[in-house]
Amino acid sequence: MADDGIGASVRRKEDQRFLTGKGHFTDDISRPGQVYARFVRSPHAHASIGNIDTSAALSAPGVLGVYTGKDLAEDGVGAVPCGWTITQTNGELWNAPPHEVLATEKVRYVGDQVALVVAETLEQARDAAELVSVEYEVLSANVKLDQASNSDTAQLHESVPNNTCFVWGLGDEEATKSAFNRAKHIAKLDLYNNRLVPNAIEPRVALAERDSGDDSCTLYVTSQNPHLARVILSAFVGLVPEHKLRVVSPDVGGGFGSKIFVYTEECAVLWAAKQIDRPIKWTADRSESFLSDAHGRDHLTHVEMAMDDDGKFLGMRVDTTANMGAYLSNFASLIPTYLHGTLMQGLYTTEAIYCEVTAVFTNTTPVDAVRGAGRPEATYLIERIVDESARIMGLDPAEIRRRNFIPSDAFPYQTQVALEYDSGNYGPALDKALSTLDYKNFETRRANSETEGKYRGVGISSYIEACGLAPSQVIGSLGAGIGQFEAAEIRFNATGNVTVFTGSHSHGQGHETTFAQVASERLGVPIEDIDVVHGDSGRIPFGYGTYGSRSLAVGGSAIVKAADKIIEKGRKIAAHLLEASESDIEFTDGNFTVTGTDRSKSIAEIAFAAYVPHNYPLDEVEPGLDESAFYDPPNFTYPFGVHVCEVEVDADTGEVSIERWVAVDDFGNIINPMIVHGQVHGGIAHGVGQALLENAVYDESGQLLSGSFMDYCMPRATDVPSFEIGQTVTPCPHNPLGVKGCGEAGAIAAPPAVINGIVNALSSLGVTHVEMPATPQTVWQTIQNAKT
């Protein structure tokens, strides 16, 4: 098994089709009689909608239908829900205004949809969309996060006073107050966690088709979780009963969280397909993606750390304002609360913690999960305040971390913020990262850079994340409207090869390889005889899809459970065929053997017997070899690690170049090192993008200024150095594979590493903080400000 089982860097099975242009993405699918949709979008950030005149559009060539919010309302179409209820600090429930599929009374961000045009061709739909005339009464826009909750700021939703969705707290406020009273030193920082546009390569697409024969519908959609989409579309939006709706998300070209959610466009297209009884396709253009894919981050935070004389962390206080955008996207409320507040312990023994989050509405694109979702924001503020603490204490940033790390013998460790860390061993990861970087001799390198007129700095980021979402009962008690187990089915075919069905979804992560490796190792079937099927509610068992680095820890565990059932049943069949007692049958490397003999049956022979049950224990077991399992994890998983980078700053221009990057991550056991490295590389690049380049900026009227790649800067290969990647291995104690999750780690670890590095480089100039993204202008301006 060593060649393609667990631990082998098996080349990705899916790459054959991706690299030869044979992938099947949603836009590649066309259905007979297909027509095209185009949305009429608001050019204003905030306006009342007056009359909508669709007559000219309706009589334009090729037009099949023009629909407004009124049409949907009359048909009883519901709003798109946010699936996580928040209970506020005052005990009251949050303010969750409805998100209509097409806006009726008001538009609330540039790109908000007011009408849908369906025509025979895309160009006809575009032409007709320009003919829809909408009367707007423009209102003043609320775009400044720090002013959103003021009473004199423009109000978005009637049911939401002061634009405040909720005020939520976690931790012990009193204990924290008393820690600050006892403190000998207090570090303080104000930080902005910049807004990101997710920018998957493949834009969102929805293709909806109704079969009038049995009144069922199929929605092909770029989704990270087709079953969840089906539940929302049927139960909440009320478009098609669950059993009459099939949701297919075929190959998906990147998601980064933005394709977790059910969007209004998909609802509208599905509804319209029922009206005109023709398949309708909508493909977002890049400008639409910028405007209407849920954005990420956008937190404004004040953080304080209380310390004793030795730099031990006594207490931490966090006050965050989180931007929800104009409406609540499906998981918007979860991100700044249970994926952010619960991470405030970091890797440290901070004795008391209190985190308060105020979530506000603004006239901007809705904000939801983007790679890391809440955990990058938490890690950024923790690792920045830890460095600032080191600075005011005159301690080495590595030393202050060591002094405060949760010791390896303290696990399981109950945090001050609800989670119980199951395992951890932080010191070795820090040591390994620092020795790889040759931290000892950093000052020599700094001096060398100085001779070339450059400022060199080193930045440390030690992170933890909660992954493997999630124990259903725990999240249910915290307000989740869904469960988060995962499902798997292993189906042996009569000829001995295998199809694995998973509720998890791959949109770049390589499940078809990693999951096949797991099945191959467990069942002793060669990897080329295993296919993994995902992404089609018509084929797979009910699952919760992929996000939150959950696929392997939860979905992989379900596969292990199903494999165990297969082996258990196979053992009974083998005992019958080999005329031995079941307890004498061993299973190794794909063979059932009578202990101590050479009498054996391969698992393929067992499968054949199960499908052609002539000589078969029919009184004991059913025919067929097809088992499914659901796995609900007992806890989150807790990957951790230390990333260290070295940067050089050109003070003349403010340019930052990253010279080195050492990552030591602990993901527990690793199934495919090559795939894990790829995830880490991509994650770091994503995090470097946030730290140095990416920024969604609105002007005062709510126009997105960085609405194209000409102004929104994605990281390029030249923006990152060659990564030096290492691992420590602390297996997860509670799932059968001992795995944790790796897809978000880089994006979580990287931003504070970069910013700590820049601040370290410029410390001699008196710089104590640089805001993200640390663009040349920002860095240059920060240096100028420090000079005066």
Binding site: T653, L705, M710, D711, Q777
Partner: protein, 266 residues
Amino acid sequence: MYDFAYHRPDNLDDAANILKINPEATVLAGGMTLIPTLKLRLANPSDVVDLSAIDSLNVLSVAGEKVSVGAMTTHSDVSTSKELMETIPGLSRLAKGIGDPHVRHRGTIGGSVANNDPAADYPAAVLALNASVNTISRTINADEFFTGQFATVLEEHEIITSIDFPIPRRSAYEKFSNPASRYAIVGVMVADTEAGVRVAVTGAGPSVFRVAKMEEALSNDFSADAIAGITLSADDLNSDIHASSEYRAHLVSVMAMRAVNSALTQ
């Protein structure tokens, strides 16, 4: 895109005729600016006249004291031309820094100069090298050519045919790129020419401009130190999410000094 008629004439006369008959027609060179504009439905020409089949526009030649670059010469061809590297290395380096490989293999010098994007690189070279712009009907000196943001003295439908660059004693271009688009936030071309030292700045203002104070200082002493104390006022400079006018003013000084150093080491 809106519908339009597409033409691909193989000589200049035919191109001019099509443009004359169709007042709403437009010229297409590399399409790096025009095609996105059409796709976003920001332009609605009746006819598009593609110049790519007119061979006479795609020549690059060195004759005596000048280099003549045909309007349809791509940035890639300019950046890899041996003759140019030997005669005006500053110009080939400038072309090498435009956009990305895709843009350099499609975009043309004629399209860039006709468009006069405030952040484009070539206008700095045209102005600093004291080039002349040849059109289908006349020759225009660089100092008269650029009139404002996206504006030139070109008449409606006046096709640029080539640009003549007098060979300077030395020249260099230094650019501070917009990290996203790679256009110039500030680009400075310094050239020591027959007509004296010329310093042209692109990206910083509404249109490319010369900096007299720097030219004067460099005429006396062609060294970075000579202009170390010279800073522009931020008042008339561009300001956007990538760079404030103060930052641009500062970058002009930094890039100018770097350009002088670079010219001196060539």
